[in-house]
Amino acid sequence: QEVPLLEGVTVRAENNPTVEEGKYKKDAPWVIGMSSFGVNANTWTVQVAHEAQAAADRDKRITKFVLLDAGFDQKKQVADIEDLIAQKVDAIIVQPVTSTSANASIEKAIAAGIPVVLHTGRIESEAYTTEIQGGAEHFGKVMGDFLVKELGGKGNIWVLRGLAGHPEDANRYNGLKQSLEGTEIKIAAEEHGDWQYDKAKKVCETLYLNDPNVAGIWSSGADMTRACVDVFKQFGAAIPPISGEGNNGFFGQWIADGFKSVSSEYSPAQGAAGIRAAVALLEGKALHKHYDYNPPGWDLEKVKKYYRDDLSANVWWPSELSEEQLKEFYAKQ
């Protein structure tokens, strides 16, 4: 009786201990705490918070859902988790800021008998109870494989990375490196666009004016793909194959302009999956320690199914938000 956490989530095959049944069983009502690495980092993280909140609201046994925001600050995350422990919440969900900074406080939580669910970011310690991890390498590799296929294994590409120093950025990049191994594809330029539209646009403009000949672009996702496509359109140039991720604005652009692309999946509904995992632990169900979230990339067909012309660019797919919530949050003006 596997607990359904999220579509696309699988149980990791090897080295996967189980959390014994009933270990964290507790009678409802529950208070669940969540330490986010940064709720207000971008529109995707905002949606993760909404998805988590919505999932908590749907479960009437959760009387209180405490969401704390580290604002990308490791120190604050440590303090946040300590504050959640001090409040004696029943379970803690952690989106770690970095792979190490929260380790000590997660250990403290476990020592205090509070289960810790980890998602959207791995840590170097094993102290947590269970984790759902969208593999950032996988994410980057889906994009990389696409480029390798499109380019027939050779040519110059640009690499648009995310926020420097962020583990997610480094891991996605490692995924790309795996794809490129053994091919003749060369990285002609590599820049950090911080996953933001304006920075990425600046980078792309500069790269284009420096040397417009590029066979393909590996973009680490978020709003950077849209920025890069806009640059090529602005210069009236043909858009080379470029990778992207599940953003409604990007989908619209892809459909309208018909360039070659792939969309790696990294659902904001992982926020809801975290809640479900915490609930399962509190219900006393047996869970595995490691869950992987490595779905295949999306092609134009799938994208067309999800794309919503009536919603704004800032929705991320797939989502578990209800139709009303989608309309409330994202209706186009």
Partner: protein, 316 residues
Amino acid sequence: MSALVNSTLFRRVSKVPPSYYLLVVLLVILFVARPQMLNANVLGVFVRQVVPLGILVLGQLLVMRVKSIDLSGGGVILLINYCISSGIFPGASLGFYVVLALATGLVIGLFNGVMVAKRRVSAVIVTLALSIVLIGFVQYLSSGKPPGDVPKIFAELFNTRFAGLPSPVVFWIALTALMALLLSQTVFGRFVTAVGESMPAAHFSGVPVERTVILAHTLAGLMAAIAALVQTASIAVGSVRVGLDLPILSVAATILGGVVFGRGEGGVWGPFFGVLCFAFLFVVMTMFGVGDAGKLVAQGLIILFAAIFYGLRADK
């Protein structure tokens, strides 16, 4: 060393704000390495990238001339971006948004000015705190309604050209010229100079010190609002996060341009070229494939060396 420092040539050269020769150096590098880039089209694109910063600097230099500082620009930009992109004003026209933005900037600048000049609160802290309030306000609003799309007209305007140059660049130059006129030709400009040199002396000369500081801050708020409009047009989508580095960068560009707290030897064009320096620094480093870490180091060292060269002038 001291002979060099004392030579007349050095003195004359060092009177020039660092931004001028830094810009020349960057352009020379660009000319040597990528001569094809030195045309109005390409340069225009690069310059367009820093127009929001450039407009922010126009306000910053004004408040720095009266020994104050404005770090609230980040918050202003975020708030105005949110107002435009969230659709809380359905069906509003471009004119409405412009008026809304200017009014917002005006109120925020006025608030800063009153807090600094009347309440006599530390400008660093009050403008930083206001920025935090504004960012927090947007975060609060966006939990109810996340930002969405920016009306198409913004992006369309942003991409137009005027006299062969991108319109935002032309707009920035015009605004800078206006600010230069304001400071050099009006009584207000004299007030700013007087207040910057000595507030008590200005007061006893009959200069309305508080009003001058308030007006400077109000204008800075307006500039931040205009910068926000341009920035929003350039992103064309809503955002929940802006770097606090924009205001700090605007301070650095202003100082590179020869304007420090109280003194304004670089006038308005010094900081203007300071901003251009940032634009071309980025371009040159990207061109040479300098990585992120290297960019940081190079940017730091170059700003420092420019400032040292300027600071070494004999008549300190």
